[in-house]
C-alpha cells in the first residue's frame, strides 16, 4: 500500500502542514500583539517593575524582532514562550501534555461517533421506510440540534445527580479527571457529549450512502453469487458506503476539537480546550498563540490521516 508515490505525497503534505502552522501562528501572533491590554495589565505594575517584566517577555523590543524571536524559538527550539499569568511556566510542554489528554478524549469521541453513527445509518438504510428508519431519521435531527453542552448537562443530570439521589449516593459516576483510563464519568461521558451531534450526521450520511450503494450492480452480483446477506452488507456495501463518510472526517475532527473547548470545561478535563478557554478569558495571549499553533498542527495531521484513509478504503485512489 505504501508506494513511493504515497511517501512523496506524505512528505509534501508534512511540508504543507509546517507552512500552515507557520501561517496560523503568525496570524494569531500578529493579530494579538496589536492589541492593547493583556494579562500583564492585571498585575498593576508600574515603572521599573513593569519594564522588567516587559523585558522578561521580550515585549520591549520592536514587534518585528518579537516576531522573529517567536519564529526562531518555535522552529529551532520548539519553544512557545512563557505564560503571562503563571510566570516561569513554559508553554510548549504544557500544551503538548494537554494535547495528549485532548487527543485521548477526542479519539474516544471519534470512535463513538463513527461506530454508533455508522451502525445506526446502516440499520436505517437496511430498514428503509420502516418505523425504525423514521425514528432514527427524526432522532438524528434532534441529535445534531442539541449543543454538546446541553447533552453534557443531561448526562450530568442523569449519571451524576439522578443516580446519586435515587441510590442515596451508593451508585453514581464520578465526574472529573484522574488520569486513570477507562472510567466512564471520565472519558465515555465527555466522549459521548462530544460525539453525539456528529454521530447523528454520520448516521444520516451513512444511510444516504448505503442506500446509494445497495442499488449498485455489484451488490446484485454479490447476491447472485449466493453470498450471505450480512457478508454483502459488511464486505460489499459498507466498504463502498464508507468512501463518502470519510469526506466528513475532516470537519468532524475539527468539530470534536472545538467541542472540547466547552466539554473539557464541563467535565474538568485538563486538555487543550480548557486551556484555550481559560487563557482567552485571562488574556494570557502567549498561551492562546501556543494553543492555536498546536491546533493547527493537530488539524493538519488529522486531515492528512483522513486523506491516507482514502487510499486504504478506495483502491482507485492513488497519490
Amino acid at each position: 500500500m505504501l508506494t513511493r508515490g504515497t511517501l512523496i505525497y506524505i512528505s509534501q503534505r508534512l511540508v504543507l502542514i509546517v507552512f500552515t502552522v507557520l501561517a496560523v501562528s503568525s496570524a494569531v501572533f500578529l493579530g494579538i500583539h496589536r492589541l492593547p491590554g493583556d494579562a500583564l495589565f492585571n498585575e498593576h505594575l508600574h515603572g521599573i517593575e513593569y519594564q522588567n517584566v516587559l523585558h522578561h517577555y521580550g515585549l520591549d523590543q520592536p514587534l518585528f524582532t518579537q516576531y522573529t524571536n517567536f519564529l526562531t524559538g518555535m522552529f529551532l527550539h520548539g519553544d512557545l514562550g512563557e505564560s503571562f499569568v503563571n510566570r516561569g511556566v513554559k508553554i510548549a510542554p504544557l500544551v503538548l501534555r494537554e494535547a495528549t489528554v485532548s487527543a485521548e478524549v477526542g479519539l474516544f469521541a471519534l470512535i463513538f461517533t463513527i461506530g454508533i453513527g455508522m451502525l445506526l445509518g446502516v440499520v436505517a438504510a437496511v430498514r428503509q421506510n420502516t418505523w425504525v428508519d423514521y425514528v432514527l431519521s427524526t432522532t438524528s435531527v434532534i441529535g445534531y440540534s442539541m449543543p454538546n453542552f446541553v447533552i453534557a448537562t443531561f448526562l450530568l443530570l442523569f449519571f451524576a445527580v439522578w443516580l446519586d439521589n435515587t441510590t442515596n449516593g451508593s451508585f453514581y459516576f464520578q465526574i472529573g479527571w484522574s488520569g486513570t483510563y477507562g472510567s466512564i464519568g471520565e472519558i465515555w461521558l465527555p466522549a459521548f457529549a462530544l460525539g453525539f451531534p456528529y454521530a447523528s450526521i454520520v448516521a444520516r450520511l451513512t444511510r444516504a450512502s448505503m442506500l446509494e450503494v445497495i442499488r449498485q450492480d455489484y451488490i446484485r452480483t454479490a447476491r447472485a453469487k449466493g453470498l450471505r446477506e450480512t457478508v454483502i452488507m459488511v464486505r460489499h456495501a459498507l466498504r463502498n458506503a464508507l468512501i463518502p463518510v470519510v469526506t466528513i472526517l475532516g470537519p468532524l475532527v475539527i468539530g470534536i476539537i472545538t467541542g472540547g473547548v466547552v466539554i473539557e470545561n464541563i467535565f474538568g478535563i485538563p486538555g487543550l480546550g480548557k486551556e484555550f478557554a481559560t487563557s482567552i478569558l485571562n488574556r494570557d495571549y502567549n498561551i492562546v498563540i501556543g494553543v492555536f499553533t498546536m491546533y493547527a498542527g493537530l488539524i493538519g495531521i488529522a486531515n492528512l490521516g483522513v486523506d491516507l484513509l482514502y487510499v486504504v478504503i478506495d483502491p482507485r485512489i492513488r497519490y
Binding site: D217, R220, T221, A222, G226, L227, V231, R239, P315
Partner: protein, 367 residues
C-alpha cells in the same frame, strides 16, 4: 383462470421428444408497484430449459427479458415483486424456498452474469477475491478457492492470470472484467448459467471473443446457458433455441434456425428484418420497428403488439392471443401469423411497415 388454461395449453403443445427439463418456468409473473400504478414486467411467462442447451431470450429493453432472468433467482430489485407462478429446478420450486435455501442455489447451481462488467464488479475488492467469494459462499476452503480461481482465470483466457488475481477491477480492461465475471459464474460448475446482455457494454471484437468463450464453455462443460439479449445476431451465433419476448410476454419460441428461416410472429419478423444480413437483397432496406415500445402501465388491449403491427386484423384489437403450435417445436402468439401475412398481405414485398399498413386495419385510430 385465463392464465392457467394458457399455460396448460402451452404445455400440451410442447415437444415431447426432448429429455427432462432442468428448469421449468411456469406462468411467472413479476410486478412493480410504481407511483403511477402497477407494472407487470413479466406476465405469465412459461418455458423449459434442458440440460446443456443454450437458450436465447430476446426482446427490446423493457420487454421483461432481464426481469424474467432475475425472477428465476429471485433477484428482482425493489419495488419489484414476484406475484405468481413457479420456477421448478429439479422439481423444486425456487419461489417457495427460504432465503437461505435460495442463497445456496445462487451461484452454486444457477449462476448469473450481468451486462456491465464495470459496475458489476465491486471496485474496492480484488478481482480474484471476488471470484473466490463465489466458492467460499458454497463451502470451499480459502486455499481451494484460490487455486481454482487462478485455474478459472486461465480457462476464460485471461493472460497472466496469477498476477491478474491481485488486480482491482479498474485495472482490467472491459473484456477482461467480463471474462472474470464469467469465471466467477462458472466457479461452482453450475448446471445453468444465465447471461444478461453479457456483451452489450463491450466493443465489437471483444463481443465476438466473449461469445466464442461462452459457446466453448457450453460445449466443454455442458453448462446450460440462458442468453438474455436484444441482439438477434448474438442469438444466431450462440443459441439453439430462442424465446422472443414482447411487453412482458413470450410471443414466439422455437429452434433458432427455424425461427430465423420462418418467423411466425410479426414482431419476430420485424426484429429479424432490422438486423443487416449478408444474404439480403440489395434493395431490401434495413428497417427498424415502427412505433414505441408499449407503456406497461397501460398495456394495449388485445394483442400487445397490435399498435405497431403492419398485419393486424380486427381481432387483434380486443382478443389476447396465446402461444399456439405453428410448426415443429415452434409456437407463436398471433392471430394472423406470418404464414398468412405472406400469403394474403404480401409481407415479403412490403415496403411500408407502418401499423396496419399491410392489412389496412385502422379502426378509430389516427395514423
Amino acid at each position: 383462470m385465463g392464465c392457467a388454461t394458457r399455460s396448460t395449453r402451452a404445455r400440451v403443445a410442447r415437444e415431447k421428444s426432448l429429455p427432462t427439463p432442468i428448469l421449468q418456468v411456469r406462468d411467472l409473473r413479476t410486478q412493480f408497484a410504481t407511483d403511477g400504478g402497477t407494472v407487470t414486467a413479466v406476465d405469465g411467462v412459461s418455458f423449459d430449459l434442458y440440460p446443456g442447451e443454450s437458450l436465447g431470450i430476446v426482446g427490446e429493453s423493457g420487454s421483461g427479458k432481464s426481469m424474467t432472468a432475475l425472477s428465476i433467482l429471485r433477484l428482482v430489485p425493489d419495488p419489484g415483486r414476484i406475484v405468481g407462478g413457479q420456477v421448478l429446478f429439479h422439481d423444486q420450486d425456487l419461489l417457495q424456498l427460504t432465503g437461505e435455501e435460495i442463497r445456496e442455489i445462487r451461484g452454486r447451481d444457477i449462476a448469473m452474469i450481468f451486462q456491465d462488467p464495470q459496475s458489476s464488479l465491486n471496485p474496492v475488492l480484488r478481482t480474484g477475491f471476488q471470484v473466490d467469494e463465489a466458492m467460499l459462499a458454497h463451502g470451499k476452503s480459502k486455499g481451494e478457492a484460490r487455486a481454482r480461481t487462478v485455474e478459472l482465470l486461465k480457462k476464460v483466457r485471461i493472460p497472466a492470470a496469477e498476477s491478474r488475481y491481485k488486480d482491482f477491477p479498474h485495472q482490467l480492461s472491459g473484456g477482461m472484467r467480463q471474462r472474470a465475471m464469467i469465471a466467477m459464474g462458472l466457479s461452482n460448475a453450475p448446471s445453468i448459467l444465465i447471461a444478461d446482455e453479457p456483451t452489450t457494454a463491450l466493443d465489437v471484437t471483444v463481443q465476438a471473443q466473449i461469445l466464442e468463450l461462452l459457446a466453448d464453455l457450453n460445449r466443454e462443460l455442458g453448462t446450460a446457458i440462458v442468453m438474455i439479449t436484444h441482439n438477434m445476431g448474438v442469438v444466431a451465433g450462440l443459441c439453439e433455441r430462442v424465446l422472443v419476448m414482447y411487453a412482458g410476454e413470450i410471443v414466439e419460441q422455437g429452434p433458432v434456425e427455424q425461427i430465423f428461416e420462418n418467423p411466425q410472429h410479426p414482431y419476430t419478423w420485424s426484429l429479424l428484418k432490422s438486423i443487416p444480413r449478408v444474404d439480403a437483397l440489395r434493395h431490401e432496406r434495413l428497417r427498424s420497428i415502427e412505433g414505441l415500445a408499449p407503456d406497461l402501465l397501460h398495456p394495449p388491449l388485445g394483442c400487445r403488439f397490435h399498435p405497431r403491427c403492419p398485419f393486424r386484423i380486427e381481432k387483434c384489437f380486443h382478443d389476447h392471443p396465446h402461444l399456439e403450435h405453428v410448426a415443429a417445436g415452434q409456437q407463436a402468439a398471433c392471430w394472423v401469423t406470418m404464414e398468412r401475412a405472406r400469403k394474403e398481405m404480401g409481407a415479403d414485398q412490403l415496403i411500408d411497415i407502418r401499423p396496419g399498413a399491410a392489412s389496412g386495419v385502422h379502426p378509430g385510430e389516427l395514423l
